[in-house]
Amino acid sequence: MENILSVRNLSTYFYMDEGVVAAVDDVSFDLAPREVLGIVGETGSGKSVTVKSIMRLIKFPGKIAGGEIIYKGQDILKLDEKDMYKIRGKEISMVFQDPMTSLNPLYTIGDQLIETIIQHQKVSKEEAFKRAVEMLSLVQIPEPEKRMRSYPFEFSGGMRQRVVIAIALSCNPSILIADEPTTALDVTIQAQILDLMKSLQQKLGTAMIFITHDLGVIASMAHRIIVMYGGKQMEMGSANDVFYNPTHPYTHMLLRSIPRIDRKIDRLEPIPGQPPRMIDIPKVCPFLPRCPRNVDECNQRIPDFVEVSPGHFVRCFNPVGGGK
């Protein structure tokens, strides 16, 4: 199957007064049609900047320093802003973490939906209104026609996130990017939204990039997973590869440091140390200072991202289990 999106050696740097932050460094991955690709990582690991680069939403002092983002055969990093306009929101759309700030408080839900639809599709206002109501019922908002006239503040957090999803899907995009879409929500509401996203994804066949720091959420959503740390991909593979055969020491340790509700454990095994400060970091593995498996070579250069088994990649000189 042909990939719908290919990211090649993407690097996005932020040029700060204090130095250069390599927020995303040499990231490469493919997205297949109908696939849900999860990106998991901690604060500052570069997962959000990766998808913002795909949307070309990086602002000063940030800059996409290199790489290619091939969408349907063309490198969208080479497009001018006018052409990018046709892709952003129509072909590739995005759901952000905080539904309080991603909706405009001064306009009704209906206005915001209709605006997006008219912006990207040649339809009349009546047509757009009809489509907007359809979208609201698709995301299971009761009495959609009446709710078109409501303002964001009249909705709860979960309902707002439904509206944001409706807007994101209103132009029938081929890729939906969801950046921590449920982090701001309570767990019972999170379950509703994840359930909704999963069923819509299956129904519409949209390919999805799903970002989260929650390993439980990623386990329930993603077919394939990228683990990021310090701006770099540490590991990439199927959900089963990453969870049952974690090969990078970071992934391995991360999975042992989290408690779960269905098991009684006596002791968590924490990862020692702190996540890296990202300014002007040396050209070695960012996990090196915290890694118990480090070898001499780790101090010299960054390991390559190698395929240890079909589709399972890892960036490490001394992978867990020898990389098998």
Partner: protein, 326 residues
């Protein structure tokens, strides 16, 4: 017989809702905590869990008397403290401490770490002189995994996890018996969370601390707590031994809450049948009649719309408020 350190009986905390421009009238009440009772055993951890707005933090603040209860009793080592005046309360305050959620805002940015950690010792006269306090502070820094030279630095020079360690050092500086941990790791990264949680466990073993652990992270609650209370709209709906509640929840809300929590295990997740609740948590100002959970409950009966179920003991270690549970 296990000793009871803290016992809370029928605790209520109502906040008035005022309206009007010049003359403010009380138009409604938010029953943030409504008739909550629980006990914390000495050397053990009691967890309060629930979604935002369920009243768990208000319980904590009321227990510490950071806010005064509307009604109810709080017994600390057998003494009733809910009506004590400031001066009478001081000896008890020395035995209770709290670690807040956000270490960015709970540490004074204009004080050095040394000042932050020694202040409670000097205030409660645990240390007689500044020098003595400072010497103790050095030991505390090592206990929480920091270095003694860190005492001369300011909070902004530390990462989130390190700041939470400072907050812990401050809390244990006066050798309390009881610590309230209000979402102590929810602002930290996952890889750092386990470090802090293990620190709490070590201290509990070493010093027999009792904890009131407040969290919405059910995985952590299962791991750290011995007993648990699940709150919904100001009331505890189910309470009991943690393992029992997690393995066999009885209240439909507890079931839904556990079912909604994703497990970091793809195969388990694929096989799971989730209970998806309808709607959101109703406003605490106008709670539903009868059982507050009835509009979202998949097992609702007629009686549930009329009466709030009694919170009663159903087995040796379990209390539930539900008409369904016999």
């Amino acid at each position: 017989m296990t000793e009871i350190l803290l016992s809370v009986k029928n605790l209520k905390k109502y906040f008035p809702v005022k309206q009007g421009f010049l003359i403010k009238r009380v138009v409604a009440e938010i029953k943030a905590v409504d008739d909550v009772s629980f006990e914390i055993k000495k050397g053990k951890t009691f967890a309060l869990v629930g979604e935002s707005g369920c009243g768990k933090t208000t319980v904590a603040r009321t227990v510490l008397r950071l806010t005064d209860p509307t009604a109810g009793e709080i017994f600390f080592e057998g003494s009733e403290i809910s009506k004590l005046r400031y001066k009478e309360l001081l000896p008890f305050r020395r035995k209770m401490q709290i670690v807040f959620q956000d270490p960015m805002s709970s540490l004074n940015p204009r004080m050095t770490v040394g000042q932050i950690v020694t202040e409670p010792m000097l205030f409660h006269k645990v240390a007689k002189t500044k020098n003595e306090a400072y010497e103790r502070a050095k030991k505390l820094m090592e206990m929480v995994g920091l270095k003694t030279f860190h005492l001369d630095r300011y909070p902004h020079q530390f990462s989130g996890g390190q700041r939470q360690r400072i907050a812990i050092a401050r809390a244990i500086a006066i050798e309390p018996e009881f610590l309230i941990l209000d979402e102590p790791t929810s602002s930290l990264d996952v890889s750092v969370q386990a470090q802090i949680i293990n620190l709490f466990l070590d201290f509990q073993q070493q010093f027999r601390f009792s904890y009131l652990f407040i969290s919405h992270n059910l995985g952590l609650v299962r791991f750290i707590s011995h007993d648990v209370g699940i709150m919904y709209l100001g009331k505890i709906v189910e309470m009991g031994e943690t393992d029992g509640v997690f393995e066999e929840p009885l209240h439909p809300y507890s079931k839904a809450l556990l079912s909604a929590t994703p497990i970091p295990d793809p195969e388990v997740e694929r096989a799971r049948q989730r209970i998806i609740l309808r709607g959101g948590v109703p406003s605490p100002i106008s709670r539903p009649s009868g059982c507050f959970f009835n509009p979202r409950c998949p097992f609702k009966m007629q009686v549930c719309e009329k009466e709030y179920p009694e919170f009663r003991q159903v087995s040796q270690n379990r209390w539930v408020a539900c008409h369904l549970v016999k």
